[in-house]
Symmetry: C2
Subunit: 350 residues, 2 copies
């Protein structure tokens, strides 16, 4: 490790769910959407002029910002896209969080802790309730910067818009970052609140509800001062993080509201019957508001179940972490994939 | 600026050359390649399966790494691609540079200073010689981390492979980062040295010689320990920085060696005659080894010339910075574009 900085030596990078090269797995481990992107995205790809790739992309991504702003009813000056929502989350650390403690909860997207380490930000942990619900009262009047994933991952539980507003309003001098990666699968986005609360920043992704994990596009919505913070970091880091093709395809995806709603509804319908089937098999879990289920079974260790499913050709996600080492996170796939999951589980369970 | 960290408030972001939305300009301001990408890139775009975009990209970019490694005769474990070479340069700061002074020269890619500020790295400046050549002796035995752009930008001047090796060999305990963004236009890459010097990291881009500024792809080549440093930062920042399409198109570009050499040779041929013409018009400058010329004229202020050219529909780059405020950086375009440049200059010059 000679040549590495002490910081680099100390890091424990995030480990994403595996992307197996064999095609034989039913892949329920990274919360990808089981449906292809909108036909408009496919058309936009066909229409792309490859010759134009010789030129740099528009550095401020104006057209995409305008399109997202229009969809959500906010001005484009309140929108900021990036190379996946992870990039936006990363930028928030130097933009807003360095120099003060940051509040996160104990069971959430584990990348937050990795960013905190990379940017030397001290975290203050709020434990989830016993049932993994988010303890709203604990966040009130903390006067601290905070990140809340809503719905939370990997638990799938949610806060209402009223609860989010209470938290945002009671911490007026601090940045409240709501990570809405999964919001379209059952929650109500807090984007409308950004017009009234200057300290509220929302981050969303096109990887889940827009079926575009392979495109790398996310966006933030917030007050102009928060967008200025993001822009300062982006422009001190990488002038052009979204490429010309991704900008066009992301726009096409946002513009196809009908396909988006249809796809999300299909996932929700599948989630409903799979939830019922899993409960019949003895699994225990809270209702999910995301495109995954976070389940535990009284008769079989999650780690064992994980391995058995893997051997049977089904990949799910297992986290060997405190409080959740007996849980599995299972992505909601197509009906056909989930039928196979249920059948395999019937074979595996004692 | 409420809500911004003190760090964010203190930043002076990099300002890239403008990307005008009107199409009327002859654009010689951002060192883009005047030729479209390889026909293989265009074919790869046509062959892209949009449905596959629902899945995350391969996080370790194996195929592209293998392809680049093959081209340069190094193992894929020594190659690391990213979302533009800027992203790689940024990662180098937390990976290798934080906690110790970093040597750069006074006239070079101005983004280095921006990264240094973002990651709180102190810089030590080595001034270029009077004629803007790089003072090799000054770098010997410094025992400091350093970045050298070779050819240097915006000056276009170059170090030989022997000079690079002297610098690398004489700083064995520090990382020597050679930014070879423009190397294909006339220099000799130091990539072959990476097999022998564990402390040497090379960064290149597909934005210039591969005509793909709009795709956002760069790559690093270096010893496995340096690649490990980059991987640790990447995986603490953004698990998937290159999207599925960019990975494919970048591979197609690297594979078309013939088109690459042909394009580079065309740019070099244009540069040769334009250099002669500009000298006839009284411009002074050292021979350029990049796809731009860094010129000054005894009879007209660079800032005035810049404005006059702009008014005439030709965009070049002017930096209002110490030592170079009477210079212009002019990208080498097509023969036709450069003929128009020469004609306009004949009209403008006194």
């Amino acid at each position: 490790m000679k040549y590495l900085s002490d910081l680099a030596k100390s890091l424990q990078p995030y480990v994403p769910g595996e992307q197996p090269k064999e095609k034989t797995y039913i892949k329920l481990n990274t919360n990808e959407n089981p449906y292809p992107p909108s036909p408009r995205v496919i058309q936009a790809l066909r229409d792309t002029d490859a010759a134009a790739l010789r030129l740099y992309p528009p550095p401020e991504s104006d057209e995409l910002r305008e399109c997202i702003g229009k969809f959500y009813g906010v001005d484009k000056s309140m929108v900021y896209p990036a190379n996946g929502s992870d990039e936006l989350l990363a930028w928030c650390f130097p933009a807003f969080f360095v120099g003060a403690p940051l509040v996160i909860n104990d069971i959430t997207y584990s990348f937050y802790q990795v960013y905190a380490k990379l940017f030397s930000v001290q975290t203050q942990i709020v434990p989830l309730n016993e049932d993994f619900s988010i303890p709203v009262e604990a966040y009130l009047g903390m006067d601290k910067n905070m990140i809340i994933a809503n719905p939370n991952a990997p638990t799938g539980q949610i806060l209402s818009l009223i609860e989010i507003e209470r938290i945002v309003r009671s911490n007026p001098d601090r940045v409240v970052l709501i990570d809405e990666a999964y919001i379209d699968f059952g929650g109500e986005s807090a984007i409308p609140l950004t017009a009234r609360y200057e300290n509220l920043l929302i981050v969303q992704t096109l990887s889940k509800s827009r079926c575009l994990a392979g495109l790398r596009c996310g966006f933030a919505v917030g007050s102009p001062v928060l967008i200025e913070g993001l822009a300062r970091i982006k422009n001190s880091f990488n002038s052009y993080t979204m490429d010309t093709i991704a900008l066009k395809l992301a726009k096409a995806a946002i513009e196809d509201k009908e396909y988006f709603l249809d796809t999300v509804n299909k996932v929700k319908a599948t989630r409903a019957w799979v939830s019922a089937e899993l409960r019949k098999l003895g699994f225990r879990f809270a209702d999910s508001y995301a495109n995954f289920l976070f389940v535990t079974h009284p008769n079989m260790e999650a780690s064992v179940l994980f391995e058995q499913l893997r051997r049977q050709g089904i990949l799910v996600r297992y986290f060997n972490l405190p409080r959740i080492q007996n849980h599995l996170r299972i992505t909601v796939g197509t009906d056909e994939e989930m039928k196979q999951l249920i059948n395999k589980l019937k074979e595996i369970l004692p």
